[in-house]
Symmetry: C2
Subunit: 303 residues, 2 copies
């Protein structure tokens, strides 16, 4: 079952204490697409500039991501320059050059208007809504956002959430959106607005999912080395939605296995810069790490 | 099987965004003792001042903590004044008055020198070592510490660790002790010094345990309301060691169930100020929350 993603395709310059990537392929839609491609066919709606080369396009093509919605516009591709310190949970933005992304108006190709699963990556909530309007009857819709939109367009975001099944947020975003310090209470409020699943992203500390079958918590995978956390959240979303799409996106949604698959994909994503690790990832490695998550978290009832 | 704990008994004044406790019973040994008392007999070695009343003593007595090692010295009881903001993971110390604790020289009563399980709560590592010297052949020794001792007495602490089975630390302390950003590598180094179990305490994000049967990760319990995180780490240690003592402290140690029991005790500890929640806790509530941890973390293999 296909997934349509709308979001950014970018050239990132990222430095961490463990290395640097210069003008490497990045962007939320990119990371999502390659991750989800291991599970389901992916259709990408995004915009790039004239400086976006065949070499940039290669990892997406290699993973059979359908680029029928990737518009090449006059101008430069979106660029992000970021830096992480030893606390890899905090990204410091050094520079953002929107380029062609400033005028992005997502257009869903006519043949894609029946796509059953949608991922609205982190863009202006009004644009996210415009995509929903172009895909009349999806089976499953997920949305990401960020503090900038919660601050500048809270009402548009809340309107969007009434039409969304899954929203992905971190702790700070959840508290900002609800003005509520208790995550459990805040999530209950967000679910009352529409989303039946709220995914609380906690970086190296894992993920907490509130869904129809109750709360599910999964710790992060204890990796020997994390090289670059960029794209971890989008790789998670790709695995989460990819798994649900592969299972037909039918209710009851299997949010638990989906969250583990998402965490597996994110754990690989951070092991290298850009798409380097996912690019050479194999299905047996995915299955092996899923089983390692089982071994990591298993415990017996009390005697 | 009995546990001997050495640490602080204090009067805490704590404020959080959700309330305040004034001169309430606190201290590492106190929180540990009451938590462990649900699982095993506890023997307390500590010092208090002449201002320590029968009312202060009551919760310890009510939980059958053996106070045969609680010395009343001339002077005032140790006082700690702390404040938490909305990020309850960070305690801000406003004031510390050591009082009689400044001259604390732990003396283990002769009848207690065969205690099989020891908990060396967070005190000067030289004092922790002096307790070990007074208990010649324990079956299981656990130690806590803090950034202050890692900074001021790293060599004494490393000597202590050669004689310790379990060390409890948070992420920052582990990195500080090893100068190593990767927690996985840092823990491997610490285990090479002696401790076969390293417990990484992560507050609301749960716990990561490295033991003989591999890594075990447990997320924090998503509570509706956390009133006061003071004592959570010691309540965890009380449940962890209490469970192992109840099982005879024999190898192979069941670090996984012990970590869940510790997390259960810590999750109750933070629901009220001081000892208020543990004071009225019942064994069926403990068992129920253990089962809730199972429901929270369960997931199936991939189809």
């Amino acid at each position: 079952m296909s997934i349509l993603v709308v979001g950014s395709v970018a050239l990132d310059t990222v430095s961490t204490p463990f290395g640097e990537g210069r003008e490497v392929l990045g962007g939320s839609a990119t990371h999502f697409s390659v991750s989800a491609s291991f599970w389901a066919p992916v259709r990408l709606v995004a915009v790039v500039g004239e400086d976006f080369t065949e070499a940039h396009r290669r990892p997406l093509v290699a993973h059979d991501v359908d680029l029928g919605g990737l518009v090449v516009a006059k101008g430069r591709t979106f660029r992000w320059v970021g830096k992480y310190g030893y606390d890899l949970n905090v990204a410091n933005t050094i520079d953002t050059q929107l380029g062609v992304f400033a005028d992005f108006k997502p257009a869903v190709p006519a043949a894609w208007r029946d796509t059953p699963v949608l991922f609205l990556a982190n863009i202006d909530p009004d644009l996210q809504m415009s995509v929903l309007d172009q895909v009349p009857r999806p089976k499953l819709v997920a949305a990401d956002t960020m503090n900038y939109w919660i601050d500048s367009k809270p009402e548009a975001l809340k309107r969007l959430l009434t039409r969304v099944d899954v929203v992905l947020l971190n702790d700070a975003e959840i508290r900002q959106l609800t003005k509520q310090p208790s995550i459990v209470r805040a999530v209950a409020e967000i679910r009352s607005w529409g989303p039946s699943m709220v995914v609380v992203k906690r970086g190296e500390h894992g993920v907490l999912v509130f869904a129809e079958d109750g709360a599910f918590a999964l710790p992060g995978f204890p990796l020997e080395d994390v090289l670059d956390p960029t794209g971890a959240g989008d790789a998670f979303a790709g695995g989460f939605l990819g798994y649900l799409a592969a299972r037909g996106a039918t209710r009851p949604w299997d949010a638990r296995r989906a969250a583990v698959v998402g965490s597996v994909m994110a754990s690989f994503q951070v092991e290298a810069f850009s798409l380097d690790r996912l690019d050479r990832l194999t299905p047996p490695e995915i299955r092996e790490r899923y089983d390692l998550f089982r071994a990591l978290t298993a415990f017996e009832p009390l005697p």
